[in-house]
Amino acid sequence: MASLLLRAELGSEKKLNPMEELLNQYETVNLSAVKTWFKAGNIKDFPSNRGGCIKYKNKQIAIFNFERRNEWYACQNACPHKMEMVLSRGITGSADGVPKIACPMHKKTFSLVDGSNLNGDDYKIATYPVKIEGDEVFVGFLE
């Protein structure tokens, strides 16, 4: 039994693997905390009712134009399940009115409002505020 407990303790000191490190770059930014508004492009660059991916420093951010709702959302482009840069290529939609994105890899769906997983898994995504000024699209970051 002692060895069992010992193993359990060792487990808690797990080192981060490169993918976890990658995921740690992404943290939800609240509108009130924005320090930098990054110009992501012209609204014409973003197709309606689906996504486009932008590069900001070492981050990849997926931006979605919900034209029918006249709303814009942004989130990390990495799927939190396997850390591949694919969320911008997913299908947009809504669940009980909440705008969501379905990952093209395994069809896990995430709320674009709070980043939570809508299939009941633990995975969560970071979301970012978007603002439109004139016909330009800006994404808010902390740095």
């Binding site: 407990l5 992501a40 689906r50 590069k55 997913g90 299908i91 705008p99 093209p104």
Partner: protein, 835 residues
């Protein structure tokens, strides 16, 4: 507050808590749970799935907050070392003392390790906890790195075979070593064991029976197993899974009555020899038996909870040990008394070595009662047989029909769920009766299958009863006059077939028109591709038309792979290709550094293309006469063929030529799911045509046409639709069949499943397709004609219109490629870095 302490946080301990808090009168009780393992209770039944990629969290039975939400105190990593029965206290290894009014021992069992010389050597493991599994995984990795491939599992019972599968999943060759002369000696008779053995041996798993292990060979690490017959088996790892041993230490130290071979003795109230102490699950010795199954453990948990709350529920006298499971991919089930055979009981046995099926039922001599049975290789009759046995229902005039099916008639002899009495237990894991399921629907507390599951917990254990529960829910809804529909998703209250008609009648050409008029919300990943596919099926629009609502592979006209790059499959109709074209494919692969593999559909798949390289790759392919192979679409994939009578000395007809003709006829047509075809030039069937949605086999005087087969998770042979027909008739029937399927099937339903659900089955389908019972054949042919006549290669469209090319770049604000993509070497090629 009355203190209830539960020792043990396994499946049964958890179930006790769950049952307890759901009962009335529990408000005055405080439950405290102790578990020696570091994590919350998890699903041990599905432990081997941990190797197949499930995480410890996936296996967890509850969420982090469940205990807190329900006011239960959970102490993990804390081991109880002693009980002071006089003072009613327990002591933990952290030197803490807790008081109890009631104590529930749910300590379960440990792996039984036979006293063999050398079991302490490195590389010998037991198979019981997630920690065991982690240790096995780590060791397997180590020995594999040193070039070892062989590992043994001691024990040919249920758990042993589970462990063998796990070892196999780790990439090692398992050897199952069993002391008895056959596998699963407790559940199966000789015939059934032999059948199971031959099926398992086909998978290259070594089976060593009648083997008493003398000692474990090797210095510090295991190198082999020496048997009593002086045979040595060279292995570098051993997993012991030879049975269980009740964890009754606490009973022993505190002087509770304990069985001779272990286990804490309990009465039918689950009370031990001390009335304030209860024992449940695999530590409890009830009727001189330890029950190693989940269902009796759950029932014990319920009884103990009732008793503590002053209820009068007791454990039943005889406990059912029926089980149904899949061992290394082989279906195995046994129920009732599987072995009984005497002057009053006859066993009826069906054995088919060709298909690997063994069925046995034990029936009273008067032919009236079913007492038990065994199924190996095909356990689809288990639910029906079990219900007949458990409810002592009447048997058909010829009891053998139960396992052979009634010959020359329609319908199943097992009856339908509707015939079962309300007392029939449908979900034996959670002990849910048919009455409880119907009641929830009739009283209106549930209205859908999902509600029923939430309310009754039916199907949440092993899940084997799901088809029956679905049937009962549907039948009850129907009897309540409710319309039973497979609606697409929350955005559309229609079936795919209804939506198909809505689009067609209203001539809609845009998804948002459809959702604005007939749906609600913003759509989702389910309904958007369905509507896009319907547009394609009606107007033959290519996937370039409704980019936003296409499924993501269709949006990029390529198949997304593990690292977010894509694979490219040019069409090679019938698998016939010239040397020049093969060279072009090779050149493209070299130029874009792609991994190449021949697919099962007789074409070449090129993997690892960056999104922005896709148009460049297709430019070269199309300039050289290729076109899209639609490998990404829910549409015709390929028509596979053998070489045919042009070369083959057995060939009866030009199978390759016919395959090319058919592939070119139906290419690009969108359907509810993918469609595959096959054409063989003789009954040797080299093209595996009967494993396809449509298959043709050349025979004397024409072609035999088979439909609705598939490979995949549930392989099904295609069924004969017409015999000895000419090519024109083949095409006529195929046009009608495919169009009827496209019109009426649900989303992502393949032809085999569609046929299964079609009322009237194949006989009805023949009536529709051949004899035009619905009077729609002309319309079906016209619709198909218009699709066939308007084919366009969608990749060619993209290259011709720069506007369509915009979507093939990774970033909106940069021309760079995705820098997250990394490759590692794989044999002579490459693969994405592992997940």
């Amino acid at each position: 507050m009355i203190n209830v302490i539960v020792v043990g946080n396994g499946m049964v301990g958890y179930k006790f808590c769950e049952k307890f808090i759901s009962k009335s009168g529990q408000e005055n009780y405080q439950i405290t749970v102790f578990g020696e393992e570091p994590r919350r209770a998890y699903d041990r039944v599905h432990l081997s799935e941990y190797f197949a990629g499930k995480t410890a969290d996936d296996l967890s039975l509850s969420t982090t907050s469940w205990y807190e939400d329900n006011n239960i105190i959970l102490n993990t990593s804390e081991l109880i070392t002693d009980i002071n029965r006089e003072q009613k206290t327990i002591h933990t290894h952290l030197e803490k003392t807790y008081e109890y009014d009631y104590l529930v021992l749910a300590t379960g069992s440990a792996a039984f390790v036979p006293p063999i010389d050398g079991v302490e050597k490195e590389g010998v493991f037991v198979y019981r906890t997630i920690e065991d599994l982690d240790a096995i995984m780590a060791y397997a990795k180590k020995i594999k790195a040193n070039g070892s491939t062989e590992a043994a599992v001691l024990g040919g019972g249920l758990l042993g075979l589970e462990a063998a599968k796990a070892v196999r999943d780790l990439g090692l060759n398992p050897h199952v070593v069993e002391f008895a002369p056959r596998l699963m000696p407790r559940q199966l008779d000789k015939g059934a064991s032999d059948m199971l053995q031959s099926k398992i041996e086909e998978l290259n798993i070594g089976i060593h029976l009648n083997k008493a292990t003398q000692y474990i060979a090797g210095e510090e690490n295991i190198k082999g197993m020496m048997f009593a017959d002086d045979e040595l088996l060279n292995v570098d790892m051993l997993v012991i899974s030879a049975g269980i041993k009740p964890r009754d230490e606490l009973g022993r130290v505190s002087g509770l009555e304990v069985g001779i071979r272990g286990g804490i003795v309990v009465n039918n109230k689950m009370q031990t020899s001390d009335p304030s102490i209860y024992a449940i699950g695999e530590v409890a010795l009830y009727n001189q038996m330890i029950y190693g199954l989940v269902a009796p453990g759950y029932e014990m948990a319920d009884v103990a909870a009732e008793q503590i709350l002053k209820g009068d529920k007791t454990m039943r006298e005889t406990i059912d040990m029926s089980t149904q499971l899949k061992l290394i991919g082989v279906e195995v089930a046994s129920f009732g008394d599987p072995f009984i055979e005497n002057e009053n009981v006859t066993a009826i046995v069906y054995e088919n070595k060709f298909s690997g099926i063994y069925k046995r039922i034990n029936v009273t001599k008067d032919g009236k009662t079913l007492l038990g049975g065994i199924l190996v290789g095909d356990s689809s009759d288990y639910n029906g047989l079990f219900q007949i046995y458990a409810n002592a229902m009447a048997l058909p005039a010829n009891p053998e029909d139960l396992i052979l099916g009634s010959r020359g008639g329609e319908g199943s002899t097992l009856g339908s769920a509707a015939d079962l009495p309300d007392t029939a237990v449908i979900c034996s894991c959670e002990n849910v009766t048919k009455g409880a399921i119907c009641c929830s629907l009739i009283e209106g507390t549930a209205s859908t299958f999902g509600d029923v599951v939430k309310l009754t917990k039916a199907t949440s254990g092993c899940g084997g009863c799901k088809p029956m529960v679905v049937d009962i829910v549907k039948a009850t809804q129907k009897s309540l006059g409710k319309e039973v529909k497979d609606t697409i998703c929350e955005h559309f209250n229609y079936t795919r077939q209804e939506l198909f008609d809505i689009v067609k009648i209203n001539k809609y050409t845009n998804y948002y028109e459809v959702i604005d008029h007939h749906g609600n919300g913003d759509g989702c990943e389910v309904c958007k591709p369905v509507v896009a596919s319907i547009f394609s099926s009606i107007y033959n629009d290519t996937a370039n038309k409704h980019v936003t609502t296409q499924d993501t592979n269709d949006r990029f006209l390529a198949n997304i792979q593990r690292n977010g790059t894509y694979s490219v499959v040019p069409r090679v109709a019938g698998g016939e290709i010239t040397a020049e074209k093969l060279i072009v494919i090779g050149e493209v692969a070299k130029q874009f550094d792609l991994y190449t593999k021949i697919t099962g559909a007789q074409r070449v798949d090129l993997f690892g293309a960056h999104l922005d390289d896709l148009p460049k790759i297709w430019k070269i392919l199309i300039d050289n006469g290729f076109e899209s192979g639609h490998a990404y679409g829910k549409s015709l994939r390929a028509v596979k063929s053998c070489v045919g009578n042009a070369w083959c000395r057995y060939g009866m007809d030009d199978s390759a030529g016919f395959a090319i003709e058919l592939e070119n006829r139906y290419k690009g047509i969108r359907a509810p799911h993918k469609i595959k075809g096959g054409v063989s030039a003789c009954i040797r069937e080299c093209a595996e045509a009967r494993g396809k949605d449509f298959g043709l086999i050349a025979v004397e005087g024409g072609w035999n046409l088979y439909i609705c087969g598939n490979g995949g998770a549930n392989p099904k042979h295609a069924v004969l639709l017409a015999e000895q027909i000419d090519k024109a008739t083949v095409i006529k029937y195929l046009d009608r069949f495919l169009m009827y399927y496209i019109r009426t099937a649900g989303p992502l339903v393949r032809t085999a499943t569609w046929l299964d659900k079609l009322e009237g089955g194949m006989d009805y389908l023949k009536e529709v397709i051949i004899f035009d019972r619905l009077g729609i054949c002309e319309a079906l042919e016209t619709e198909m004609d218009s699709l066939v006549g308007t084919f366009e290669c969608e990749w060619k469209q993209v290259l011709e219109k720069p506007r369509l090319m915009k979507r093939f770049s990774h970033f909106v604000n940069s021309d760079e490629k995705d820098d997250n993509i990394e490759y590692v070497p794989l044999r002579d090629q490459k693969m994405p870095r592992p997940w």
